[in-house]
Symmetry: C2
Subunit: 216 residues, 2 copies
């Protein structure tokens, strides 16, 4: 009978807490494609009832982070190659625009911050840590795009990242190279030079490089 009542702090609502945590796990590749979940299982894990678990799941399904079978079973999506190509194309479209809008606002402090993040990306690659790589790589992109002052576009881009999360884990998991990301350096160089065409090309290349891994 609702004996355990939580203070109604707007930032600690149960369903939102579950949503955010699950979202992070999916986006950053903590969970493999096709991984099944249950509402009761999620409820147990986060010590909540089925109701907030269901709301969190419903929201993630709406964002494409989870799929539901016709019988309502929940799992992370296993993307077809066609779907991956589409999502990569969407990333290219949206993120090139975001980078382009960020360019005139990208000052030295931002560029230095990107370099710092990029060092962490290189470190993750060197350690073959797929989860860290995905997380820091997305942080690199998000840091740049935040400067675009375009929240709706950034939200769209993050939705695409979310949909690709489990697949990126699987892709980068079987990745064997250890060289740091070359296109990130191109992005930084283009930002420093104020070179918009170069920036667009560098972002497009960086975003679609996963496709080349897929084809190999």
């Amino acid at each position: 009978m609702n004996l355990i009542q939580r203070p109604a702090d707007a930032t600690s609502l149960a369903h939102d807490r579950v949503y955010r945590h699950l979202r992070g796990r999916i986006m950053y590749g903590d969970v493999a494609p096709g991984h099944a979940m249950t509402l009761r299982g999620i409820g147990r894990e986060y010590e909540v009832s089925m109701t907030p678990a269901r709301e969190a799941v419903r929201r993630l399904v709406a964002e494409g982070a989870l799929t539901m079978s016709t019988s309502g079973r929940i799992s992370t999506p296993e993307l077809s190659n066609e779907r991956i190509e589409e999502l990569a194309a969407l990333r290219a479209l949206i993120e090139v625009e975001l980078a382009s809008r960020a360019l005139p606002r990208a000052h030295m402090a931002l560029i230095e911050r990107l370099q710092t993040i990029n060092a962490r990306v290189a470190e993750a690659v060197a350690h073959r840590d797929a989860v860290s790589y995905i997380r820091t790589n997305l942080e690199f992109h998000r840091t740049l795009y935040l400067r675009a002052q375009a929240p709706a576009m950034l939200a769209m881009a993050e939705t695409v990242w979310l949909q690709m999360g489990p697949t990126m884990r699987a892709l980068y998991g079987r990745l064997r190279r250890t060289e740091p990301p070359q296109f990130h350096r191109l992005i930084i160089a283009a930002l420093r030079a104020g070179d918009e065409p170069g920036l667009r090309l560098a972002v497009r290349s960086d975003v679609t490089q996963g496709l080349r891994m897929l084809a190999s």
Copy 2:
């Protein structure tokens, strides 16, 4: 005690029925920006309890069709001009790509179908029927984009339409012109000629024409 039990037909689940109906009403401009709703009100309207009403609303909030205040109050969004510009830019990016992908697959039957729909668009404009105009206009675009065989991109485009629904109603509601949509004819002409640059320009122009109305 769950006395009224509905047959568990996968297509008639309560929350999905509510979701789809609300989604249509919002996307096609049946409801004005800033319009408030309540879970119990929705439940009464659709003769369901709060649970499926909440799930439908949660999903629509995730898609940006509805907004929730910090206290959980629900209403359709009132978009700022910056947000409208962003959404129009997203439409341009995604829909130009969709049209471009549809072009090689656009045969005579499709073009004729587009002309039929366009006649209905013109009729709606002539009758100054904002809801019919939005509905048939989106049907025109959707019919074209379906040929692109890119479901993820189409879903993104529809999400943008959904977010703009109430605002489009407000915009077109104060629209006074009665001439049929010029850019639709350009789109059809470019399709017929297999002219990709022309098609991209025509779609971009059509999609961003609302902005000019906004500026006036």
